[in-house]
């Protein structure tokens, strides 16, 4: 069975530029998560989807971050404009109702 797929794996951009990350969850998983992980820290939840509905986006900096999960499958996380402090690893995870989350490899973002 294929795992959670994320792309790109690495991204380097200049500050103030936009950037987008893509996630394809495990087939059949209705719940999708986006996390941000700073160096030496645990993952921090940004947003959680149940199917196509964002059920928890309280940690998402909505002035510059946006996310969508059209048709309840793939998801895209966008940052516009990016700031230096956004440099981190962005992780996508998916799960069924048992809440066992399966993580993708992450996208390492570097903002210069």
């Amino acid at each position: 069975e294929a795992g959670v797929v994320q792309s790109p794996r690495y991204k380097i951009i200049e500050k103030k530029q936009p950037v987008a990350f893509w996630c394809n969850p495990i087939s059949g998983h209705n719940t999708l998560y986006w996390y941000r992980q700073n160096l030496g820290q645990g993952p921090e939840l940004l947003i959680r989807y149940e199917n196509e509905e964002a059920v928890d986006d309280s940690q998402l900096p909505k002035d510059r971050f946006s996310a969508e999960r059209l048709k309840g499958v793939d998801s895209t996380l966008k940052i516009q404009p990016a700031e230096l402090g956004d440099s981190a690893v962005y992780l996508c995870a998916s799960s069924l109702i048992t809440d066992t989350q399966y993580f993708g490899p992450g996208t390492r973002l570097t903002v210069l």
Partner: protein, 112 residues
């Protein structure tokens, strides 16, 4: 919020049993306890999940006392490949409201 506290680091030797304890004094009734393992440049990987008492699978055991204010991950006979960061996660099942919070993580170093 069910905040978690773990030791920052632990050292062990190959073949030994390792126990990592996580404190979660404010755990809610519908919260589960889940442990993840993370290697560098990879997303966290599910190890084990429990609600109360003891859970065992092929790689680890999870001990949860009756008051559920702490939990202990037990890794039997560790090897060098168990060197990683271990995270304790407390949170509700999918479909419920509430925060999903990772602990700081425990860096386990297994020595030959």
């Amino acid at each position: 919020l069910a905040k978690t506290t773990q030791p920052i680091s632990m050292d062990s030797y190959e073949g030994q049993e390792v126990n990592i304890t996580c404190s979660h004094n404010n755990i809610a009734t519908n919260d589960y306890i889940t442990w993840y393992q993370q290697f560098p440049s990879q997303g966290p990987r599910f190890i084990i999940q429990g609600y109360k008492t003891k859970v065992t699978n092929e790689v680890a055991s999870l001990f949860i006392p009756a008051d559920r204010k702490s939990s202990t991950l037990s890794l039997p006979r560790v090897s060098l490949s168990d060197t990683a960061v271990y995270y304790c996660l407390v949170g509700p099942g999918s479909g419920n409201t509430g925060k999903l919070i990772f602990g700081q993580g425990t860096t386990l170093q297994v020595k030959p």
